[in-house]
Symmetry: C5
Subunit: 378 residues, 5 copies
Amino acid sequence: MHNRKRKRSHRITRARPGAAPGTLVADPSAPKSTVQVLCYSPDQLIEQPLTDVRELPALLARWPVVWINVEGLGDADLIARLGETLHLHRLALEDVLNLHQRAKVEQYDTHLFIVAQMVAAGPPPEAEQVSLFLGQNHVVTFQEGRPGDCFEPLRQRIRGAVGRIRQAGADYLAYSLLDAVIDGYFPILEVLGERLETLEEEILARPDRRTISTVHEVKRDLVALRRVVWPLREALNTLVRDESALVTPETRVYLRDCYDHAVRIIDFVETYRELGADLTDLYLSSVSQRLNEVMKVLTVFTAVFIPLTLIAGIYGMNFNTQASPWNMPELNWVCGYPFALSLMALLAGGLLLWFRRKGWLGSGPARNDKPPDRDRPT
Amino acid sequence: MHNRKRKRSHRITRARPGAAPGTLVADPSAPKSTVQVLCYSPDQLIEQPLTDVRELPALLARWPVVWINVEGLGDADLIARLGETLHLHRLALEDVLNLHQRAKVEQYDTHLFIVAQMVAAGPPPEAEQVSLFLGQNHVVTFQEGRPGDCFEPLRQRIRGAVGRIRQAGADYLAYSLLDAVIDGYFPILEVLGERLETLEEEILARPDRRTISTVHEVKRDLVALRRVVWPLREALNTLVRDESALVTPETRVYLRDCYDHAVRIIDFVETYRELGADLTDLYLSSVSQRLNEVMKVLTVFTAVFIPLTLIAGIYGMNFNTQASPWNMPELNWVCGYPFALSLMALLAGGLLLWFRRKGWLGSGPARNDKPPDRDRPT
Amino acid sequence: MHNRKRKRSHRITRARPGAAPGTLVADPSAPKSTVQVLCYSPDQLIEQPLTDVRELPALLARWPVVWINVEGLGDADLIARLGETLHLHRLALEDVLNLHQRAKVEQYDTHLFIVAQMVAAGPPPEAEQVSLFLGQNHVVTFQEGRPGDCFEPLRQRIRGAVGRIRQAGADYLAYSLLDAVIDGYFPILEVLGERLETLEEEILARPDRRTISTVHEVKRDLVALRRVVWPLREALNTLVRDESALVTPETRVYLRDCYDHAVRIIDFVETYRELGADLTDLYLSSVSQRLNEVMKVLTVFTAVFIPLTLIAGIYGMNFNTQASPWNMPELNWVCGYPFALSLMALLAGGLLLWFRRKGWLGSGPARNDKPPDRDRPT
Amino acid sequence: MHNRKRKRSHRITRARPGAAPGTLVADPSAPKSTVQVLCYSPDQLIEQPLTDVRELPALLARWPVVWINVEGLGDADLIARLGETLHLHRLALEDVLNLHQRAKVEQYDTHLFIVAQMVAAGPPPEAEQVSLFLGQNHVVTFQEGRPGDCFEPLRQRIRGAVGRIRQAGADYLAYSLLDAVIDGYFPILEVLGERLETLEEEILARPDRRTISTVHEVKRDLVALRRVVWPLREALNTLVRDESALVTPETRVYLRDCYDHAVRIIDFVETYRELGADLTDLYLSSVSQRLNEVMKVLTVFTAVFIPLTLIAGIYGMNFNTQASPWNMPELNWVCGYPFALSLMALLAGGLLLWFRRKGWLGSGPARNDKPPDRDRPT
Amino acid sequence: MHNRKRKRSHRITRARPGAAPGTLVADPSAPKSTVQVLCYSPDQLIEQPLTDVRELPALLARWPVVWINVEGLGDADLIARLGETLHLHRLALEDVLNLHQRAKVEQYDTHLFIVAQMVAAGPPPEAEQVSLFLGQNHVVTFQEGRPGDCFEPLRQRIRGAVGRIRQAGADYLAYSLLDAVIDGYFPILEVLGERLETLEEEILARPDRRTISTVHEVKRDLVALRRVVWPLREALNTLVRDESALVTPETRVYLRDCYDHAVRIIDFVETYRELGADLTDLYLSSVSQRLNEVMKVLTVFTAVFIPLTLIAGIYGMNFNTQASPWNMPELNWVCGYPFALSLMALLAGGLLLWFRRKGWLGSGPARNDKPPDRDRPT
């Protein structure tokens, strides 16, 4: 989600501002497109790269479920030819190429068009757009083409015929793909949750400038995550409720489960966001409290020593004791020096007592430096 | 709700990311499963551990109400067998094993599936997931298996035939279980309410770093509580409104009461959350005000003593009075020393007067150390 | 609303956690119950204590409107007997005894059950629960039994046959009771509004720690008031819209007026809450600004006097002027002392000039101590 | 909106708490009522004071549109008689006399009852309640009677037969009145917008305590304005949608335009409220930043001069150089004094260098006193 | 959006307060109106200025699509004549002339009236109102007449017959115009996003007063942008859903895409607003933390040097050592001076050690001046 500046800039906009709607222009920096086809029936399975789009009609005619996976969006021509062969709408294909779409479900004549954002785990979490067309007996997916995707376990299940996937139709495949996308959010949430907990401990123990910038980063990641998940939830809700003939009632039960997961993710994101906001408050309170303690130390030191310095200064004055008996007779007293020192001690003692009664000495450094106890007595 | 880091981490995710939906995998650290059966009619009651799942059909055929309670989710096989015997849906059973679900109600062919979170009183409040299947004449409950549950008083009422429970059907039993779960929230609320009040007094009297970390803990507990109660409210609303044949209209009146309790809990949680937010503000204001007072003390001390020290310093200079009559003639004055002291006293007095008129001496330590009076005059 | 800790604690929960629903248990500290009956027709009126519940059916048969008012909830048996005689639902009666209910309207077979919270004026505002059953020709009200209620003016109107109350039925009586409850909120709002205004003036003129704790109290009272009024509004909305045969269309017009008042109260509460939040901001800003001023005074004093003290210190050094001509020749200058004093004056003047140009002397104490002018020029 | 304390207090409540609903009691401090009648047809127009209510039926029978305008609410009897003559509902008349109503539209048998709040421009903005009854061929308006109303331009248009008003019916007159009320809000918004802009400049340039109290005043005015406009929007929405026979479809198009204006006003109010909240943040940030700068100056001064003072103090000590060669031999050095001064210069230079590298000298007073440039480079 | 004060002021209000609705008054400072007509069919195209409004009916009769574009709103008469010729409603024309309208769609008898705000890229972003009438075979657009509009690429596409625009009707032209308006928002978003990122880096590295005023500017621009986009979204939603005969189902699919873009823009605006709010928090936290560090430096300097100064002061006192052996015997000690220096060194060392253990020396300047590392370790 948090990309470099230069990268993000050109991504918000359409390929070419002012271009006719439905114009397909590939991002010049996008990786080359490769197409992989996976066809299966309950008993059989082939998995092969697609070299020529014209092979597709034959495959679609033969297999009950065909999954066409396009990795890399660098080849607008290939994608346009694929779209023509499968009758995909130009506006939808434009959305495939223009990244940073919101998750959404759109009903076209022969296809359901679904956009979602996959999120990869490493901080900062990186979003990758997955566009999915669900047709009668086929699913077309488009990925940005970053190395690694979250569909590998699903491929394993298809190859190994684990669960009901080989018996079910294309709609179940689409569900499984969405489910895999959503499952990919949970590890991110775990990482963020753990970082929040670490930060909380750090703030209570010894906050510094690094802490607050990390809190800010976590909050920014949560804002980004939230921007991605909310529309996904809406899209899934549309999928569960709408009466599209492409989705069987049986698969709808599974989509409801998927929607449920999206709601749980939002729950976590919102909870973490509140915790993040609380951490900022906690940080400010903690820093204020520490400032208070610093100032108390400064004040106690200043207030105790400055009067003593004044006394020392007074007896350092050079008034001529011979000029008159009024001039600093203390200097010639037998106990003049002890008297001055006692005066200082008395004054210091009195001030310290006063500060102790104000409670400014109570929260001394020794007691405060250990972090507050986590087991709270009730 | 606030578990240890390591524990929580593995809990957010599904049992095994990428696993086929409906896969039942027990958390290896979960306690062993034990099954307890309680069957009753208006006149009779048996209560026994269930050793073999195959005994169930006979019990279900004989008794008007059968309550199967599973404690501990460590035995996925047992739960799978139980599910098959009672025709429970695999997706629902998966949710039973994957903790940290949101409270929800789901309608399946033969069962209503209800998930809720019990909360145990001790701080920090700990959530325990209760999954409940309501069938024609039976209720199946799954608990995580922590020691102690909130259903004991209900069991007592069934054994003692208190109230209408022995006359009523399985739906009333399910209601009673949910009611017990919800009743379990009130003590937590009381504890939190009392802690907030204590904190308020503490902040007004003598806030320290421990205070703000405790405020943060209470707020975090409230966020967690809120995350648990809101979906429960929604779920109960669904139960009251939906037209499931499994719930009689009479029980629906009781469920409405239950829903009412959930709404009251949310009211309290939201009110406490606002109080918590106010406490943070109060803390910040209080610390700011105290800082102001500390700084006033520092400023008054510094501003009063530094000029005096300067005077003492001036008369401590070693200019040669013999070199010229302009050189520190005061040193040889008859009243030089009293003059210098009077000058200091005058200056100090003037400055103190100035500060008093600015009001900086008014909020002295004696007046401020008593906490503000709680009985406000109007 | 703001009760003592011990009192509130036992009130949140049900009478006895785990008790069967519909169990009537009186709070042992609740005042003794007394029942007062007021029966009236357009021409006649009797008002008497009810000594035996069995007298009720005769009264109900004879009078067009009967108002049974129970003060004090200490006698669960009496209330249970009353409930049986009038066919009141057990769940509703349980809510009568368990205080701190949300305001609500519930439709039962023969009665409308309405709960509301009266608020007494003195700070802190105290809520008292009023439960009201509206039957065909009777109204039953239950009050907690604190001294004084807000129904006295209504009783006067019934006795004096003022307005249309003696002509109208039991539903108009119920409306009048609710109207009296809602009218009781306005004086509280006035008190809170005046306190907010006083606080605003205080914060702008001379904020201290008492101020912020009072702001907090007002905000807490507003949160409590809000918790009480919002459900009342909802309940009244239900009453206005629902098609209960117990409420005539004519009374519905009056209930709409009542609902309107509730909305106005909420408007005031929300506005006051915003003002309260603004006051906290204002307080923080005001304290920050004052801290700034304190620090400027400190800085100016320190920065001006410390260099002077250094000069005095330098000429107080004891270097042996006889050892070399480089050693403090100033001491033997004819104008050494005036030179030193002039140096100090010059330095002080320069620094003061610098601070004046920074604007730190501009916001002096004299100008700032008068509160900002309230008539703003535009 | 911002009235004096005493005035506002008695206004929140009903005329007399506990009074029967529909009781008409005038505020004793309200100005005397005067009634003005304006009757017009496309060709004719009369405008006269109404001396006797009994003249009304004749006027209503004769003229296609009659506008009865009551200024001043001091005469409850007159208003009651007017109400009886025109069959206005008692509850509505009670709302006419009890000020501080929310804007609303209420349907009665023969009339639409509309309440709105006019706002006068001068700060603080003052609200004046306008109550309006729309009957078959007449409009009755009640104003509080402050000098000046916003209906004068409308009267001019009626007199001059400008636009379609003389052709249209009473509903168009009611629309025109509401439109005039809403048009009156725009100048207030302009004043507030300009004040916000001035404040923004002030905060960035040189914030003082007056600034923040002005920000608070603007925010308070916006809260008050908002409380008045939101219900007006709702009321207009009701008017546009409800199917009252009193409003022709043609007028409804004009009311939609009116509703549109209300929505725009709310847009501005909400935007200004956000700007106001931002200004508080900006103020706090600005004050914090300034505090930081003040503290840097203090710290630099203190940290640079205190070590120098220590050196001067050390060489001011009176150790007996004759007692031992270890005792302050520097005092007798040939270059003792220049050595001490150089030491001081060196130390001061070193510390200044250190502070410069920390960047504490960089944000000096000269650079900071000019307000930040408004033309931002990109 | 951010105009000069004087400009904005007169713009909020209607042309002339109190004027009859539908009065067309041009802003005297508005640029002169020029009308340009572009008519096209699939094969042909003419593009010419319109000198006389009476030519229009002929053009409308001949061409399948006519686009009448009015630049500059200075000529109310011309606009009124145009309105009469094309039967545009007076209220709509009034909205054309009164700028700062909210985006909206209004259905009139023969036209759809659409208002939107174009935004130009340079900071501060400037809004320009576009009013659009969609008739059977024509579109009329009104622009404020600032140099440059966002419709040039569209004109190019019409001239070059790129895409389906020449084949489609007036509704597709209206869609293309709205699409161009919305596409114009994306560059603004990019600029704002980049500024937010720069600000974040600045705050973490070295915040000054300029930073916070820039944050405030960005937030203000976002508030303004939001005020413009939300109503546009609503308007587009109305367009997509309403069943106007003027919009074909085919164009509706394109409008849905347009609506989708508006939703994405709102997503970005809201996300940026949250980031902006976070930046203010971050700034405050950062400034607080820096203040803490400044204060630590001050405290350490003061606390370490003041006691040393006291010692120097004590041994600078002038007590007469000859008067008694108690009077400052240290002065005559052989090692008096080294003893005093050692005492100072010891004290300073002890205090530094104490501060080091408090951790106040740890966050020294060297470590803190480099901005926190952006690659966060997990």
